[in-house]
Amino acid sequence: ACGGEKDEAPAAAAEAPAKDDKEAADPQSSGEVDMSVLKGKTIGFSQCDNGNSWRIAETESMQAAAEKYGVKLIYTDASADIAKQASDIEDMVAQGADYLIIAPQEEDGLQAALQSAMDKDVPVILVDRSVNGEAGQLYTSQIMSDFVWEAEQCAKIITETLGGKGNIAILQGTQGATSTNDRQKGFMDAIEGTDMKVVADQVANYVMDEAQDVMANILQAQGDEIDAVYCHNDDMAQGAIAAIKAAGYTPGKDIYVVGIDGPKAAMESILAGEQLASCSCSPLFGEPAFELCAKIESGQKVDASYTNEDTLYTKDNASVDAGF
């Protein structure tokens, strides 16, 4: 019972940004911002977890932007620990950051820390994930990417490819993490009502090595039934592909593999026809986030929420370099 009622809260939150982006304008488009105002400022960037290539690309884009605009970047890494991230934020406020850019680990847990920042009039910009709370109260503005949307895209392309009918295996990420929950929920909701059955739903903790072993075991049990594999990230997709090959099936023919994030490796295997698709938003939040800071600095009004375009990469468009 208690499990049930809890379901709603985060779900609603996940929808929130999707609604916003209807009227949202992309900061890049509304060009002519004077970036020089940022010179000599101190900007704090709180990264929630530098443990995977997507996050690292995100961090690097921040560092690059700081370099470019002569900003002093204070950068903390919570290594996937919400408690540490809260502490990190308070530390950055304490050492007098002028702006905070935050990539939240979870939608809940940073409220107190954000509050204290806003109380000290330090503008807060959330990137890639929102938090439960009001813009203007807990944060100034946010640049969202929509994890649920990504999962839905993966579901869509699998549905199309299989003609709406088939057996699916899922490799889940770390249990209890919001990213995992979103990517699972989005997918399950999307295949709701189709004739597609999830015949295997196992955990591989976002780890390639683990994914390969888990997939090998799944295939051993019911290899012939499985038509597609949905992985919560592309590292696991790589592992799955390896396992599929080892088990004597042809990825992209007998079994379709779909992942999320879109690093080079994924793009390559998409072009090679081994991976069906990868959905991702660009991790390069540096530029847009800094532009927002500049806008605020120069007194322009900013919207409560912007959306960073997500893309579904398939054979047709995978030749681009997602930048990591």
């Binding site: 208690c2 499990g3 049930g4 809890k6 379901d7 809260a9 985060p10 704090g44 530098n50 443990g51 961090t59 970047l73 204070i74 950068y75 903390t76 890494d77 290594s79 996937a80 620990d81 919400i82 408690a83 540490k84 809260a86 502490s87 990190d88 308070e90 530390d91 950055m92 406020v93 304490a94 050492q95 007098g96 979870e106 939608e107 809940d108 847990g109 940073l110 409220q111 107190a112 439960n132 770390t174 249990q175 209890g176 993490a177 919001t178 995992t180 929950n181």
Partner: protein, 329 residues
């Protein structure tokens, strides 16, 4: 020669305090430009000590003093937080009580397996860690449980004289532990069991009872830590405390608690906690350290401070080594 020895003696006995002061002064100077020594950042430092693992370390100290280990504290922490959040929504008291009971129960379970079933603490608590984490995920359906009750939130975020209430809790808890360990039969028993279990048995101590009690204390503090963290963060995460057991152990080790049992003081643990908090603050002030650099530095610091505490460096020539001889567990 003798002088050097004395320095070691002093250093190793007070090493956690020393380490803390050294680090603190060092960083105050290095980051003087960025107000490291400011009230805010110091307040943060202490709050960090209290909210990020401090209570776990206190609990872990009980267990380590009896030459055992508890890998389940992280999971138990999550359990405590989640239970409190679920039942605390309507009635905070109920939530807190149930949360603590859950922690005490897990502790008892560990203690029972170690003392009565004679299962190595490594395995027993590893199993508890797996099992409890699984249960937490089941209870929460893998989703965070938000803490809405104001009373609870206040318990994690109120500030007294500008210092977070958690800090006061930690200090009080430490004092209580120091009292328990120094002024009570239980305390004496802990050191006896840790120092020489067989002897303790033959002197008529209730060894099993002491062991179980120590684990209960550990479970209690783990749950407490989880609840306070949940309050502070407005949410109980099913993943809370993941891998925090290592942090807690490191805090104890830095505090001079010998993992071979029977040696060490809670005051030491307290400063061990502060040392870790300081190191983390330094990382944040450095402001450009990736987690891997942090890992390397953390690893080195632990190695060094443990090396300094080494008996061998202390031991004067001719005095017999105090090797610990373990009994089959």
């Amino acid at each position: 020669m003798n002088k050097a020895k004395n320095i070691y003696q002093w250093f190793s006995s007070k090493s956690s305090i020393a380490a803390f002061l050294i680090l603190f002064i060092f960083s105050s100077i290095v980051f003087s430009g960025r107000s490291f020594a400011s009230f805010d950042s110091i307040a943060n430092l202490f709050r960090k000590a209290a909210s990020d693992g401090g209570f776990l370390a206190l609990g872990m100290t009980f267990v380590i003093l009896i030459a055992q280990i508890d890998l389940s504290v992280g999971a138990v922490m999550a359990l405590g937080g989640v239970i409190m959040a679920m039942f605390g929504a309507q009635n905070p008291i109920l939530g807190i009580v149930l949360g603590l009971l859950a922690g005490i129960f897990c502790g008892f379970l560990n203690g029972f397996m170690v003392a009565k079933m004679r299962i190595s603490s490594w395995v027993a608590t590893l199993a508890t860690m797996l099992g409890v984490r699984g249960i937490v995920l089941l209870m929460t359906n893998k989703k965070p449980v938000s803490v809405s009750n104001d009373a609870l939130i206040a318990l994690g975020n109120t500030k007294i004289f500008g210092i977070n209430i958690l800090v006061y809790f930690l200090v009080i808890a430490t004092l209580i532990c120091m009292h328990l360990s120094h002024n009570t039969k239980f305390g004496m028993g802990i050191y006896a069991v840790g120092g020489n279990e067989e002897a303790a048995k033959m002197m008529g101590l209730k060894v099993d009872k002491i062991k179980i009690l120590c684990y209960v204390m550990c479970g209690f503090f783990a749950a407490l830590a989880g609840m306070l963290l949940a309050n502070r963060l407005y949410t109980a995460q099913p993943t809370a405390g993941d891998t925090w057991e290592t942090t807690a152990i490191a805090m104890c080790a830095l505090g001079g608690i010998k993992l071979s049992g029977g040696e060490g003081k809670f005051s030491g643990t307290f400063f061990g906690i502060l040392v870790i908090a300081t190191i983390n603050t330094i990382f944040n002030f450095a402001g450009n350290l990736n987690s891997w650099w942090q890992n390397i530095i953390m690893g080195l610091l632990v190695l060094i401070s443990i090396g300094v505490q080494s008996d061998v460096l202390k031991i004067g020539k001719g005095k017999k080594h105090t090797w610990k001889q373990e009994e089959a567990a």
